[in-house]
Each structure stands twice: as C-alpha cells, then as structure tokens.
Symmetry: C2
Subunit: 339 residues, 2 copies
C-alpha cells in the first residue's frame, strides 16, 4: 500500500506551489488564479486521487469538521438509530462527521469521554437523552457549542430539540373525536415529566375545545409499562361509565390496554378505540389489530438539532426550544364510536 499523496505531490505534478494547490482546491475567495493553472491543478489532484488530510487542515485552521454525538443510553432503545441517522444526514450535508459516545449515564465516564472528544477538537456537541426529560449540562461541556436532543436544559440559553408532545396529544385525541368518541380515557404514567405533562395538557385542550366534560375519573395514573397500562385500562373498563376510547401515554401502556380489553371480551376497535404514543415499531405493528399511534419524530429531531448546531458554529445565537411535530400513524385500533 503506497502512502496517500500530499499537497506537495499535487503541486509538483502540476508545476505550481503547494499554496496554489490549496487556493485552487478550496476555491479560496478573493484569490485570482489563471484558468489554465486551475485546470492543471485539478487534473493533477484527480490523477493522484488527492484528498487533503483533515487533521492537518483542522490544526491549521483551528477548526475541525467533526461533531460529537453524546448520548446516555443508546444501547437499550430502538430510537437512538433514528436520532443519529438524522443528525448524521444534516452533518454530512455540511461536511461534518460524527464522533459517537455513549455514556450509559455514568458521569465519570461521560466526563472522560467529553475530554477525549475535546482533545479531538470537535467543533460542537449534540447531547442526546433517550426520552424527553430535564438535564443539566455537565461542566466539561462549558465553552463548547452544544445542542440538546430530546431533553430540556435545567437552565441557560441552550438550544434544545424536543418532540411537540402537546401537538401530538391533540392530534391523537382529535383523531378519536373525529370518530365520534365523547368519553375518552387517558391512561398515563404515574410520574410527572415534560412528556406526560404536555400530553395531558393536549388531551385536556381537545376535550375543552369540543365542549366535552373533563371527568377526572377518565384519567388514570399507573406505572408506564404494559402491566400498568393493563391495570389502568381495567379501572376504566370496569367503571360505571366506561370510555369508548382510550388514549395511552405510550405504546407499552397501550399493550396493557389491549390485554385488559381482551380479558373482558371488549373488541378493538369495535367496542373500544385505542391510540398510543411513540410508535415503538416492533410493538405497534405487531399487535392485532395494529396500533394507531403518534410517532416520535426522531430522525427529524436529529436533523433539526444538527442544523441548529451547525448554525451556531457559523455564529448564530442559540434559539432555545425547537419543537418537532409528531405525525399520526394509522393502523387498525381506532374506529367509529359505538352507539
């Protein structure tokens, strides 16, 4: 394997100085080079298969073309890939590569990793969490342009990109209302958090918008897994006035709703409509009937975040909250309200 050509090789072949090669290949603004010289340089570069050494360029320009993608628990979620994919697409568009680090939530390790990333002169960082929550940026990140992905900063001006939870919830409940449902239950996580708070608000908003009673008995708090969803749906279905539709905080809880319905001979969507949130693909598509749900726009979020970061590297100011809309994915679990 012969070594990669350097700029000097191109210069010699073209019969010019290395600086001329640099100017030509970079299309340096305000530099005047004769057309035939340009041509010779280009041909020489092409012939040798020359591609500049990014390390040398980064050292000289004091600006690398890599972005850090730091995440807490990439390993255990099927979403991470989409976030990365989106970020990568936007980064590539601008000639940046992603350096990936997964911290597993370990602070010491995170600090170590960020240090290594900074030694590599990353231009900026995307700091991603695997679900929408509030975080404090670690001090090692100080002074490095950073955009938060799927989380909100505890304080500061940082740009952060999150799903539009409220719009998602509104869309979901509108979907049910449009089918004639008037009593709609909400099966929610036991804990508060940015996601559940906003989804609840969206739910309430739509009920109010349509003049539907906001019966507190229709909102049941439970653990956020399928077992919790099953218990919560059981409470609703066994009540004196059961809802004809249930909006589940997430797809895992929706699985539980399916189970509670099956156990009671309640058919979906004939007797009960169900709509979930997250579009946890392997789950939502495999249920019978398929689960209609709100997709978390991870790929688009990744894109938006990378674009915002790139803009900041070009001198733009942080822009705070960036909401990305959640689209509905219609499968078979929503039907007309039974009369």
């Amino acid at each position: 394997m012969t070594r990669r050509p350097r700029i000097r090789d191109v210069a010699e072949l073209a019969g010019v100085a290395p600086s001329t090669v640099s100017v030509v290949l970079n299309d340096t603004a305000g530099a005047r080079v004769a057309d035939d010289t340009r041509e010779r340089v280009r041909a020489a570069a092409e012939q040798l298969g020359y591609a500049p050494n990014s390390l040398a360029r980064g050292l000289r320009t004091q600006r690398s073309s890599t972005l850090a993608f730091i995440s807490d628990v990439i390993a255990t979620t099927p979403y991470a890939g989409q976030l990365i994919q989106g970020a990568q697409e936007a980064a590539w568009g601008a000639g940046y590569l992603l350096m990936l680090v997964n911290t597993g939530g370990d602070t010491a390790l995170e600090e170590h990793a960020v240090r290594a990333l900074r030694q590599q002169q990353v231009a900026g960082a995307l700091y991603a969490t695997m679900y929408h929550r509030v975080v404090s940026l670690p001090p090692v990140l100080d002074g490095l342009p950073t955009v938060l992905l799927d989380s909100r900063p505890a304080d500061g001006e940082t740009t952060f990109v999150v799903p539009d939870e409220q719009q998602g919830a509104e869309t979901a409940v509108e979907e049910l209302v449009a089918q004639g449902h008037r009593r709609i239950g909400f099966v929610r996580d036991r804990n508060d958090g940015p996601a559940v708070d906003r989804r609840l608000r969206g739910y309430q908003e739509v009920l109010a918008r349509h003049g539907l009673a906001a019966d507190p008995a229709l909102v049941v708090r439970e653990e956020s897994g399928s077992a919790g969803g099953e218990r919560a749906a059981g409470v609703l279905l066994d009540s004196a006035e059961p809802p004809t539709a249930i909006f589940a905080f997430n797809d895992q809880m929706a699985i539980g709703v399916y189970r509670a319905a099956a156990a009671r001979g309640v058919r979906i969507p004939d007797d009960l409509s169900v709509i979930g949130f997250d579009d946890l693909y392997v789950v939502s598509a495999e249920l019978t009937p398929g689960l209609t749900t709100m997709a978390l726009p991870h790929r688009e979020m990744g894109r938006v975040a990378a674009r915002a970061l790139l803009a900041e590297l070009d001198g733009a100011d942080p822009v705070g909250e960036q909401l990305v809309a959640c689209p509905v994915v219609r499968r078979g679990s929503v039907g007309p309200a039974p009369r």
Copy 2:
C-alpha cells in the same frame, strides 16, 4: 472562554522546554528526566488543565486514535446500539474514539463517507451489517485495516465476527429435548443464508445426537415475519402428528407461532413449547407467556471486533472467523413435553 493551554504554556510554567513536557507526559520510553523535573511538569499540566491536541499529535505521529464504525442500516434495528456500545467499550479501553457512519446501504454514499473517514485519518474500520450475511468490502476500504461485524467476507483474509448460530440452535433444541420433547418442529425462513443454514444444522445435529427422527415434515419454510411464522406453525399444528415443541428461526416468526397456537386453542407452554432466536427484547418480553429465546450477543460481538481491530493495528495478523456464543434467555414458553 479562554483558549485551551498548549504544551508551550505548560513548559513555560514548569520552566522547561516543550519537548521535556512531551517526554514526561507521554512517559516516553528510554528518556531520562530528573524526578523533580517530572514533578514540576506534572504539576504545571495539572494546574493548567492541559490535555494534548489530538489533531496535532496525530499529524505528527501519523497515527490517529479514531476508529470508523460503518454500518448499513443502523436506523431500523434495535440491535445497532449494542454493537456500537460493545465496540466503543473496547475502543475506549485503548484510548480510541469511534467515528460513526451509517450508509443506509447506499453505495455512492458509502464511498463518499469512507473517503471522508480516511481524510480524518481513522486508524481502522469496523464494518457492520445488521444481520448475519455475506458481503464484499468496497474498494475504498483497500489498505485500511478492517474487521467485519455480523457478516462474512465473500473472499479474503479479513477478520469477521459473527454469532455462533449453530451453537445457539443446538442450545435451543437441547433446551427442548431436556424437557422431554421428542417431536420438535423447526419453522424457518424461506431463503437460505448463513444464519438459517447454521441454525438448521444445529437443529439437525441435536436431533441426531439424541437419536430422534429427522422428519422432513417437521421443517417448514416460510417468510421470516410473524405472518410467515403463523402459517408455518399452522401447517405443523394441523398435521397428523403435530410436534410438541417448535423452534422458530427468529422471534418474529415465534410471534406467529403464538398466534397459530392461540387460534387453535393450543396453550403455551402446556400443550406446546416454543423457543425463538434473536431476543428481540420488546417482542420476546412482551408476549404472554414471555418467549424463551436465544440472545444475539451484539455487545460482546462489538467488543470482540474492536479488540481484533486494535490487535491488527498493533501488527497482528487477521484471524478470520470469530464466533461469539449465543446465550439462552429463559422466560415462560418452554415447559415439559405433554404425555
């Protein structure tokens, strides 16, 4: 934000030359530096929070400390994270960072990405596919130390790391035999491929080992999704002599087996034991009863691959096939054979 300290700053503070700082901080072999000088240098570096610029070091030493992680379809599989996580763990241990690129299977894009990676002087590459298959390495990778992850090279000496499919299948079927099952069905993918071939071999191996008849009617080919699994299991369950246990090629097909059983009033595990493959977590844990299955050791595979690559960077020869064992994950779908 003040700029990062350079080696010269440390040298000035310690009252020595930059070269001495380098020698001390890198513990350069064969260099003799007085203990108190060492001490002063260390203290100065500590005080300034000095960390060497990896770009400059890489340029000078002609050796970067980044590895490329190139994958085809990270976006759509929940496994990718584990692969990356494992690779990262091993890479970090050796002071390397991962540069990630997902090609989406687009060759032109892949070529472009690999070029960019090489411009960044990555020391080597991990080339990952999202399921076990045969690949040809793209020419752009020529001359760059590369290890294949979850795929086998069409030719060449390349090191490649794959799950031990046959051991996994043997373990699965032994699990059933140990529970007294004598008629065991195998619900397999319609297409051939390294994974299904080896799983079939493992299945046959165990039957032979225990002197059980290898009835060809017990092996049913179908599409590899849940619908295929359902049809295949239907064939087995409706046959004159139905099996008491079914080994499914993968968890998706196992879902179908569950459905076929439910549709016929066949109870799992009382009437029928089921064992899957892949441990597609969201699926296998959410079924009722939970699916007993063989886990794909993605994290460990990532680790093994990164370690092998690092070894090659240190001059070791490629080692060809590296098998990583698949452990069984016991949930509730395997029980004693009905009498």
